[in-house]
């Protein structure tokens, strides 16, 4: 039997490549600037600090900044049966920034889909307790692709007090439920009774040890406990 195809083999590889990862959590919020990246990075650092095997993947191709938050130096993935993410303060870290030479990433949605699939197919996470995905704003290609390629992924929503953020989040929650996505919970950012506004956060960017000492990290840690993380 002779079967003509035009088949992308990478789709078939994703599940196997993530087989050793216990939980996959997408940090979403769908509005820009609500603190998704800050929460994703500090959460990954905290989990690693607690002895959990943790990975972090920046999926905001057009606006990747986890490399700046974590203070990425000259580290680069190693070619070992795929790409092995370097360890940043105990966190296995993968980002499109490795391949962007500090340039703006002018990729279209379908190109981002192809690139996400490529990274999912070649990144060698091995055994992880948690893989944190830092999502771009908007319910666009990256969000749809994660739902498609990693159906078991849970979503943690970041909420900021602004009216606009609330509105977009409410719409998005409805859509996520439509897609059958498991919503792990919500992080209230810049809010007095959850994660407070932290004047010292920005100054700690680039220094993982300093980030762990911020009020932001302490607040986030408390919220994570409530969510069982």
């Amino acid at each position: 039997m002779d079967i003509k195809l035009n088949m992308d083999p990478k789709i078939s590889a994703v599940q196997g490549r993530l087989a050793g990862v216990k939980r996959i959590i997408a940090i979403s919020g769908f509005k820009g600037g609500v603190g998704k990246s800050s929460a994703a990075c500090v959460m990954a650092l905290l989990l690693a600090e607690h002895g959990k095997k943790t990975g972090l993947m920046d999926l905001d191709f057009n606006g990747a900044c986890d490399d700046i938050i974590l203070g990425l130096g000259a580290q680069f993935p190693q070619e070992i049966e795929g790409l092995e993410p370097p360890l940043i303060n105990g966190v296995k870290f993968m980002t499109p920034a490795f391949f962007a030479q500090n340039k703006a990433v002018n990729l279209r949605g379908e190109e981002i889909t192809a690139a996400i699939l490529e990274l999912l197919a070649v990144t060698r996470w091995q055994q992880l307790d948690y893989l944190i995905l830092d999502m771009p704003p908007g319910f666009g290609d990256a969000a749809l692709d994660i739902i498609r390629f990693i159906p078991r992924c849970e979503t943690l929503l970041v909420r900021a007090p602004s009216a606009l953020s609330q509105n977009i989040l409410a719409k998005t929650e409805a859509a996520l439920l439509d897609f059958g996505v498991k919503i792990l919970g919500e992080l209230q950012n810049m809010s007095l009774d959850a994660i407070r506004y932290d004047e010292g956060l920005e100054a700690a960017y680039g220094k993982p040890q300093e980030l762990l000492k911020t009020q932001f990290a302490a607040d986030l840690e408390r919220e994570m406990k409530k969510l069982g993380l």
Binding site: M1, K4, P9, K103, L107, A115, R124
Partner: protein
């Protein structure tokens, strides 16, 4: 080598086709390697002969490798052009090897100088044909 993961993907995909099509064995797999990603065919084949052992029913599959030249189309002026790998420095070549789409950050249309183009051929790896027995 990073090629390992891609070669392994081909075996995983072949297994999927085998299951989906109720094949008893997969005898031959034709893959196309695109010039944008620039994967070494020899290394890819060598790795495949190792990884296929992990996939039941794929162990005896012969791998046939075809190559496809790079083709880009400029979305501004319609010009089609290829990739001149020899003009790229090592770091840039590697970036495109890992994520072919990143070519858009480093290359421009030779005719109108726009960085807004699309890869139309030769992106990366795909499976073109699978032969098997029922």
């Amino acid at each position: 080598m990073h090629e390992w993961a891609l070669s392994d993907s081909v075996a995983a995909a072949a297994l999927e086709v085998k299951t989906g099509q109720n094949l008893k064995t997969v005898d031959e797999i034709t893959v196309v390697l695109g010039a944008v990603q620039d994967i070494a065919a020899a290394a890819f084949a060598e790795i495949f002969d190792e990884v296929k052992k992990n996939y039941r029913g794929i162990e005896n599959a012969r791998l046939i490798i075809e190559t496809e030249p790079a083709e880009f189309i400029c979305l501004k002026c319609g010009n089609t052009f290829g990739l001149e790998r020899e003009k790229l420095d090592h770091e840039t070549g590697e970036a495109i090897h890992f994520l072919p789409e990143m070519a858009k950050l480093y290359i421009k249309c030779g005719k109108c100088n726009s960085p807004d183009f699309k890869i139309t051929r030769g992106r990366g790896v795909y499976i073109k044909e699978i032969k098997g027995g029922k």
